[in-house]
């Protein structure tokens, strides 16, 4: 081909609406929404506690029962995000981390909010507590974690409250 190349670009968007069921995990989201409680599951055979919850133990192939977990835990690992996806770019910088709730064996990924968001404040071993939105929809974004020493400040804000 000898003709000079000229490109042509088309604007488009892919969009699908959902109303998806959380199936066997539904109780976790209902408890967050209605009761500000964090429920994990415990295997009826090996006793492993799963968080995020799963109603079947993937290790034993036996059922796992619901068990309420403490709302305080320890940061296992964390980071602060400064550049990110189009969905979150307006929120930077934000902290996220894997938190091992007291009584759980696995760690849950969650947002870690702090009035002083620096790596040392949210590093491994730091204690955190769950804070809930006053308006909840039964989603993971209904709650987040804050350093223990900031907890009272956070739950005194009008849009948030402490767990039960």
């Amino acid at each position: 081909m000898t003709e000079k190349f000229q490109d042509h670009q088309i604007r488009d968007i892919l969009k699908i609406n959902y109303k998806y069921t959380m199936g066997g995990q539904s109780k976790f989201f209902i408890e967050v929404m209605k009761n500000k409680k964090l429920f994990g599951t415990k295997c009826t055979k090996c006793g492993k506690t799963w968080m995020p919850p799963r109603i079947n133990c993937s290790d034993c192939y036996e059922p796992a029962d619901w068990v309420e977990l403490n709302q305080a835990g320890t940061i296992n690992v964390s980071t602060i995000v400064w550049y990110t996806t189009s969905a979150f770019i307006k929120a930077v910088p934000y902290g996220i981390g894997f938190i091992k709730l007291d009584g759980a064996e696995t760690s849950l990924l969650q947002g870690i909010f702090s009035e002083n968001l620096v790596p040392s404040k949210i590093k491994k071993g730091k204690r955190v507590k769950a804070v809930f939105n006053k308006e909840r929809e039964g989603k993971m974004t209904d709650f987040f974690f804050v350093p223990e020493d900031e907890y009272e400040n956070w739950i005194s804000k009008p849009e948030y409250e402490g767990g039960v």
Binding site: V81, Y83, T84, T85, A87, I96, L109, P119
Partner: protein, 418 residues
């Protein structure tokens, strides 16, 4: 029963570029296929696409291609109608997994001549808010995180990998930010010798340390850039290699893959990419190599360095150095010829420039790195050719949520070389 022998007889790699305005994903796939056929013919054969019996496609992300089942549209465009084609998708490890499945296609006897074809074209994604592509590309990737528990938290590729790197640092005091920066210096530098690379750059440790923060402690120059490209390999059975009179077949002697728990928080130690360890051990076992001596048994490793810190951990998990020593291995060997993972080192890692140097065209990446290892073993890699003495190389792919998928391929340039 002896294992069936499978060789890579042709390699086709398009340049890795930020943007191809003049090509769609299926046109890129066509280009790589054509290059691979031409390379096979330079290697002694006389084939056309009509001789290829099947295709295994490596394509990661439907959202990039703006097309579900993109493989069937490629299948039409590359003239492979009425033959079997199977698509593999395994996150960043798509390429390595695709090589594994193409190996299986031939080793099983289903095909004697199989096309292994990877492609990705991410930068058709576009973020209207910022007027650039990257945040929307990152969003299309972030849908790979668990959509209920992780995506809503702002999890994405860098924050996923950095979690494991930070946990590794907490456990071993390694890799430090400076040690990670050395990977960036090496891979951007190696890419200067690779004309197909997207990010050839002469950078210093200081440049890396001063580049903008992305996700603590990863800086911009610690991260690969997303890329558009295609890569293709042609795999043949032992009989076909003889029939086609291939001059330099490169034999696949080991394939290993493993999927570890995609929930990082479920892992016993969060500072591990367990999939690496299991995939490497499986591949070395099949190739009859020793995990503890592997550094002395291969000439080079094309690693999956999506992020600098992850390459350092891979040195340890693939058995090159003991746990906790990956960072010091690269840092203390800087500018010391014959040592470390540098281009002139004891085990050159990513002589092509890897993902940090070449870019990351996800489905194509692991096929490119396998193809690069093939060209090295044929001593036809060009300016970034490393000395071939042992006759063996590995390629490595890892990816997915929490780097859950990994695949390792071992290759040898002589038939029967274990």
């Amino acid at each position: 029963m002896s294992k069936p022998k499978v060789a890579i007889i042709g390699v086709g790699i398009t340049p890795f570029k930020a943007r191809y305005l003049d090509k769609t994903y299926f046109e890129l796939a066509y280009d790589a296929t054509k290059l691979a056929i031409e390379d096979t013919n330079k290697n002694g054969a006389n084939i056309t696409h009509k001789d290829l019996e099947s295709t295994v496609y490596g394509i990661y992300n439907e959202l990039f291609e703006r097309q579900f089942m993109p493989d069937i549209f490629i299948n039409s465009y590359i003239g492979m109608n009425n033959k079997p084609g199977t698509r593999i998708a395994a996150g960043g490890a798509t390429g390595g997994y695709t090589v594994r499945m193409a190996y299986s296609e031939v080793a099983s006897g289903l095909s004697d001549l199989c096309l292994c074809l990877g492609v990705e074209k991410c930068n058709d994604c576009y973020d209207e808010q910022t007027g650039v592509t990257t945040p929307e590309v990152l969003n299309a990737i972030a849908y790979s995180a668990d959509m209920t528990y992780e995506y809503p938290m702002g999890m994405m590729a860098a924050s996923s990998y950095v979690s494991m790197v930070n946990a590794h640092y907490e456990e071993f005091g390694n890799p430090t930010e400076e040690q990670m920066a050395h990977v960036s210096v090496k891979n951007h530098g190696n890419a200067m010798l690779n004309p197909k690379a997207q990010s050839p750059m002469e950078v210093t440790v200081e440049d890396v340390m001063n580049s903008r923060i992305i996700c603590y402690p990863f800086k911009l120059l610690d991260c690969c850039l997303y890329s558009e490209a295609s890569a293709a390999l042609i795999l043949a059975s032992e009989e076909k290699v003889k029939e086609l009179k291939i001059e330099k077949p490169i034999w696949i002697t080991g394939v290993g893959a493993a999927n570890t728990d995609c929930f990082i928080g479920n892992r016993e130690d969060m500072g591990r990419l367990y999939s690496n360890i299991y995939a490497a051990k499986a591949a070395y076992k099949m190739a009859e190599l020793d995990y503890n001596k592997i550094k002395n048994q291969i000439d080079l490793a094309e690693l999956h360095d999506a992020f600098s810190g992850q390459e350092v951990i891979s040195y340890e998990e693939l058995g090159f150095v003991p746990f906790g020593e990956g960072g010091s291995w690269i840092e203390r060997t800087f500018e010391k010829s014959g040592e470390g993972p540098w281009l002139d080192g004891e085990l050159p890692c990513c002589p092509s420039g890897g993902l940090i140097g070449c870019g990351h065209a996800v489905g194509a990446t692991g096929i490119m790195s396998t193809g690069e290892a093939v060209l090295q073993l044929r001593e036809e890699a060009g300016k970034h050719q490393v000395p071939i003495e042992k006759g063996r190389a590995i390629s490595h792919s890892i990816g997915g949520p929490g780097a859950a998928y990994a695949a390792v391929i071992v290759m040898a340039n002589k038939e029967g070389l274990k």
